[in-house]
Symmetry: C2
Subunit: 126 residues, 2 copies
């Protein structure tokens, strides 16, 4: 009898409060819980340095960037790392360590969901 | 000789840094100036109470609302007024006084421009 081994299921990274949610802002007054979740994402982009870093990652050729790729926004590397971490905590970026560097990539479903909140397109599974 | 009186010209309300700008965030790294302008708008929605108030105005039946219409977000009327003013300063709402009350209305072009930054639709004159 060949031994079987149960492999762990690959689970989506469980960053808390990251899942995109909520109807367009024009549909109805948000509940306190919806507002709490969604405000976090907007807040993450509500800082000029973070917004520049986000655009740097989002527009980087391979669709991802590490701190080593981003040096032209006029802040130190630890500051870059700090802000990229904040963007990740807000669910806007995902990260993966490869060797020395952590590579960041835009989370398209979350960003698209934020866009839909504003453009009024119906929410739904993306 | 009849005296003449120079009347002040009616100028558009000069909210500074309100005009929607900038390409989609995926297009290129934002300049410092673009990031400064755009972060203000995201920051305005980066607070749960403001986000609820914004959704209350945006979803109100006539497309506008006064402080008198918004009483169910669990904060005092002066706090509501304070936050609505912040949203106005960020260019997301416009306001008009009628009698006792100031009525707030969503500025669709600014909100749509924010949506386009995220959804990646080409920017342009709205």
């Amino acid at each position: 009898m060949s031994p079987t081994k149960s492999l762990p299921l690959i689970e989506p990274v469980a960053d808390e409060a990251v899942e995109p949610c909520c109807p367009p802002l024009t549909e109805r007054t948000f509940t306190a819980e919806e507002a709490e979740r969604t405000a976090k994402m907007f807040k993450a982009l509500g800082d000029p340095v973070r917004l520049r870093l986000f655009s740097a990652v989002a527009s980087h050729e391979s669709g991802e960037a590490c701190v080593c790729d981003i040096s032209d926004v006029g802040v130190s590397q630890p500051t870059v790392s700090h802000h990229l971490k904040k963007l990740k905590e807000a669910g806007l970026l995902t990260s993966e360590r490869r060797g020395t560097w952590v590579y960041y990539r835009v989370e398209p479903s979350v960003v698209a969901a934020m866009g839909r909140l504003l453009t009024g397109a119906p929410s739904g599974v993306s």
